[in-house]
Symmetry: none
Subunit: 408 residues, 2 copies
């Protein structure tokens, strides 16, 4: 909502926990039931029956969100209004810190042959070289290309043939906004495209990118497979009002995977580092950091991973594991506890989907008594109805007593 | 959604059937039940329990749609954004093909007396002359007025005193947009208004319309009742992106009534012609055309007609007739089957109404198990919730696997 900021109470002391079970929404997998319906979750059930429930639509009716739009929505930013460029998402996904003065680019190692000195792409993914090979090459490139013109060059390996490239400028680019074409010709037996900028500022970046490609090609020329680089998704950080200011919340992220930590950093949350990767480790971290923040975003990844694999038993087991840790979370002295997903990942589709995502909000100010469980079908009966995901934060603030009245 | 087009997969092969039972939504008529609730529909019930269900709002809360906005919505065009002029709707309703270079106008035969040569309206509807009389007069006018200045004149009878007039120009009018006033003075004992254009292009059209009115008055001067014409709803074809391009679907319309065939043509669907007017004939046509299209809009009119008559038994019988043909439809190898109405036509109101319309979407990617039947009350329990009608097409595309992910 426009003007929400005027309603935010700056002196509120209440604490909000938002737990995101990535891709938790699903479709029937067995006996016409979904993983959430099949999972045994006595602790969660108990809370659901005393909470406000509903479902949220991540982007729009029928629209399947990527991880970027999925999280932007639950963080309160309208996903159709704010876009996260592919280069930024890749950088964030490999764990790079992205600054306001950066242009982030998604890179592929590729294989080219030369015809009269002209490179011709023969494999756009360099035979999907092993990640270890990628790491060796990125180390070599990093040591030899540190700066091009005024831009600092930052490189980081991704998986197989993929890497992330950041061109860090000494100032913020103000007219950039993804105005440089991808260099990947999208098929083989063609020369790579030259990066070209659509405006003078983008052209300056494009020229630096050309130089990077040339230097990388020289350094890689004796590699049997990865002898060239293709660049895609040139992008800058989206112009988002930072989450802590937008909602008046000192905010922390507890997550394991770089992508989600990166998304939280993009919107300005603090990252809490911790040992281990289990739900147990995340809950322990939440308890330890309890005094330091107003808002905790806790991300649990494995529900989505099992969904993508079509492994519904795996997905059920993660949900049940979460339920076993639930009493510990509930014992914290929170004012609002919300549990949801960023999107659905139905096991039968092995991919993200558009289906609305169950959500539960527990606070002293709920109607409750409508849903017996946190499931797709039970939440349809709930008091929140079906609503756009970017409205969730308003609801959390309201339930936390952090919003004043609108109008007299 | 803005930008939907970027998400459409161009190589998808899936098939979608959209069946519109015109005005099917209703209110209680007997034993507190609606016609959909009173109808015996075993085949439809069986499908409903395995489908995604909900209700759609045609225009906005409390707003009753005409046939134009009702269909624009389910065709995926926001009815409050795209308006179909009255003249266009009248032309389409009498079965005229409307071209991009046409100005379409709704005409009334009227009765005038002359005072000092000035016409004074004494009956705005010429005593609702019989339709046969109308046909005779239109034939006579058509034979005598073929062209005015650069505009070809096309006339077609409607019911009673109504007719449709098209002024067909040799080029597209670019600044027109319904800028000519109606000539009907809206009460008797007043002279008809002169058509006047609000901009130079509209004025050019208005002058041609004046000449048409003068010539028609001369030709009709000896008629006892229909001795004058009033013109209303000057309009051009709405600037809609054609449905097949907008949604990437080779699209066909199977309908009996000119209005609905015309609306489908307006958005660029192909019309399939066939013998007969029964649901049986429509289903047979659907089967025959099956290989040729991705998307089928099947329109069944009689539910609305009986609603307008307040005849709930008639409405129930049409719903039951549809159910008997249902197994034939279900036996087609579709990917998505949707059944709904374009609006409600409650028998107790004998008119269109604003009430949300039940909708069912069947595909392999439904939660299902929530509504036992396709009725107003059962669909309220469904997974689609209550949504704007113009979002329906997004949902159909998603369920047909025709949309890629939004964002990375």
């Amino acid at each position: 909502m426009e003007g929400l900021k005027k309603l935010i109470k700056n002196d509120a002391q209440s604490k909000i926990i938002l737990i995101v079970l990535d891709g938790v929404g699903d479709l029937p997998v067995k006996d016409s039931k979904t993983p959430l319906e099949l999972a045994k979750t006595p602790n969660l059930d108990n809370l659901a029956s005393r909470s406000a429930t509903g479902l949220h639509i991540p982007v729009d009716y029928g629209i399947t969100p990527g991880s970027g739009p999925g999280h932007l929505g639950i963080f309160g930013y309208e996903p159709l209004k704010y876009e996260i460029g592919r280069g930024i998402l890749e950088a964030v996904g490999v764990g790079l810190e992205v600054k306001d003065t950066d242009v982030a680019i998604r890179g592929n190692f590729a294989t080219v042959k030369y015809e009269n000195g002209l490179p011709i792409v023969i494999d756009r993914r360099a035979g999907r070289i092993p990640t270890e090979e990628n790491k060796r090459l990125i180390k070599y490139l990093s040591e030899n290309i540190k700066k091009i013109d005024e831009a600092e060059v930052i490189l980081c390996s991704g998986k197989e043939h993929r890497f992330s490239l950041i061109l860090r400028f000494p100032y913020k680019l103000s007219h950039f906004f993804e105005k440089i074409n991808d260099t990947d010709p999208q098929s083989t037996e063609k020369p790579p495209l030259l990066p070209t900028g659509e405006n003078p500022e983008a052209e300056k970046v494009a020229l630096i990118a050309r130089k990077f490609i040339e230097e990388a090609a020289k350094l890689l020329k004796n590699e049997p497979k990865a002898n060239y680089v293709l660049l895609r998704g040139f992008s800058v950080k989206p112009a988002l009002e930072p989450f802590p200011e937008k909602f008046g919340l000192k905010s922390a992220c507890i997550a394991v995977y770089p992508m989600y930590k990166g998304l939280a950093r993009l919107v300005g949350m603090d990252l809490i580092t911790f040992e281990g990767e289990s739900i147990d480790a995340e809950v322990k971290t939440l308890k330890e950091a309890w005094q330091d923040y107003d808002f905790f975003f806790v991300h649990i990844k494995k529900t989505d991973s099992y969904g993508e694999d079509g492994n519904y038993e795996g997905k059920i087991s993660v949900i049940e594991e979460f339920d076993r840790h639930f009493l510990e979370i509930v014992s914290l002295n929170f004012n609002v506890l919300a549990i949801t997903g960023d999107h659905s990942t139905p096991c039968i589709m092995k991919s993200h989907s558009w289906h609305p995502v169950p959500v539960l909000i527990n606070s002293p100010y709920c109607l409750g008594g409508l849903s017996l469980r946190l499931t797709e079908r039970e939440c349809l009966k709930g008091e929140l109805g079906i609503f756009p995901s970017f409205k969730l934060m308003q609801l959390l603030l309201a339930h936390a007593g952090r919003l004043t009245k609108y109008g007299a």
